[in-house]
């Protein structure tokens, strides 16, 4: 008999516990008041929405609502200027200026203007600049080759310092008095005998041996030096450098144009 009693006790306990969970009288009233208020507010909002929806609808012929009439009565008429007499309204405020209509640009033309033309300009620049530079370089090389080499070299030698002169003399040849063989001994600064033997007959015909040395041996050596100074770099390197410079210039100009 104890077990059923125990079970009953537990059920009673549970029922009592759940009984505690119920709302108090105040809570009931409060909740009821909130429910009614919320319902009324909701109903009011719904009616407002319905009225707005009906007012936005276009009225049919002869079906003007009382609200519309009331708004017409309360709204100021367009011609009444009682309150705004001191303000001069502009003439023909409703006149729309005759502006050109906006036309949508052609997408192909827009793309061409935007991208193709600047890109073509960049490529053209990148191609023209190195070509012009190479032409100018070739022309300067031709000019150097056509110009007399002796006079500028002499000037260069005279303008140079004594140390430079010595070094230059070592390469090109010394002055005639030094180059002149004395007492039949060969000069140590003179170039190799085969060059001298080639120039000797012509020199003996014209001026003296010293003049022949001056006119023939030195210019030949200068010629070689002039060539080396006219084309100091490999033509391939020059071409690549100019192409790179042209491309860089083109990129810069293109960036500026596109920007």
């Amino acid at each position: 008999m104890s077990k059923p009693t125990n079970e009953h006790q537990n059920e009673t306990k549970l029922k009592a516990a759940f009984e505690q969970m119920g709302p108090s009288t105040e809570a009931r009233e409060r909740m009821l008041a909130h429910i009614l208020t919320a319902h009324e507010e909701g109903a009011q909002k719904a009616t407002e929405q319905v009225s707005v929806a009906t007012s936005t609808e276009t009225p049919t012929k002869g079906e003007e609502t009382a609200e519309a009439k009331a708004t017409q009565e309360t709204a100021p008429s367009e011609t009444s200027t009682e309150e705004y007499t001191d303000i001069d309204p502009p003439e023909n405020i409703w006149e729309v200026p005759n502006l050109p209509r906006y036309q949508k640009p052609n997408p192909i033309l827009h793309f061409a203007k935007r991208y193709v033309v600047p890109l073509a300009a960049c490529l053209l620049l990148a191609a023209i600049v190195p070509i012009v530079y190479l032409q100018f370089n070739a022309a300067s090389m031709d000019f150097n080759a056509a110009a007399p080499m002796s006079a500028p070299n002499e000037k260069d030698l005279s303008a140079a310092s004594p140390a430079d002169q010595d070094s230059a003399e070592g390469i090109v040849g010394r002055e005639p008095q030094d180059a002149q063989p004395q007492d039949g001994q060969p000069n140590e600064y003179l170039p190799a005998p085969p060059a001298q033997s080639e120039n000797e007959p012509q020199a003996e015909e014209g001026r003296g041996a010293t003049q022949a040395d001056e006119g023939s041996a030195a210019p030949k050596a200068d010629e070689g030096q002039a060539e080396s100074s006219a084309s100091p770099l490999n033509p391939l390197e020059v071409a690549s450098a100019t192409v790179a410079a042209g491309a860089a210039l083109g990129v810069v100009l293109g960036t500026i144009t596109l920007g």
Partner: protein
């Protein structure tokens, strides 16, 4: 709201407010949340009045709506908590500190939500397992399992036994 509608609603409210409030309480622990949930359940009925077959049908509908609403609230509050996890303060205790329950109710509140509502509906409202299954829209066997597990736990904690 006209007078007739108001009378109908007031009678209905008086009949079922306790049940709805208690069902909400089995899910939600904050008194304010419970009151809000109860109000929302009745508002749903008031906004869209229905024709119920009987008072029992009415009650079952309100219980079902209350359970669903509480589950929604729990879901949304869980989401809020998980979103604010990085900056949240230490969580407040689940039950309202102002309210003190006896030991039995404390044990009931420690049961899982589903078991808790089934225990309430079974032992307090007097519904059978089949009726509870119909109300909460779950299989009969599931409800029986819930009740069996809840009884085991309550026996363990409270001692004694329960009517099966």
């Amino acid at each position: 709201m006209d007078a007739l509608e108001k009378t109908w609603f007031l009678e209905l409210y008086e009949r079922h407010v306790d049940t709805v409030f208690r069902v909400c309480r089995t899910y939600l622990h904050n008194t304010a949340d419970v009151e809000d949930a109860t109000q929302n359940v009745f508002l749903k009925l008031l906004d869209k009045p229905r024709d119920f077959e009987s008072s029992e049908h009415e009650k079952a509908w309100l219980i079902r709506v209350a359970i669903n609403h509480c589950k929604d609230v729990l879901k949304s509050s869980w989401n809020k908590r998980s979103d604010m996890e990085g900056i949240a303060e230490p969580q407040a205790p689940r039950s309202d500190p102002a309210e003190t329950y006896d030991e039995t109710l404390a044990v009931v509140f420690e049961l899982p939500e589903n078991q808790r509502s089934c225990v309430y509906l079974y032992y307090y409202e007097g519904y059978s397992a089949a009726e509870i299954a119909a109300i909460v829209d779950k299989p009969h066997s599931t409800i029986r399992n819930y009740l069996s597990d809840a009884r085991k736990e309550l026996r363990k904690r409270l001692g004694g036994g329960f009517d099966e």
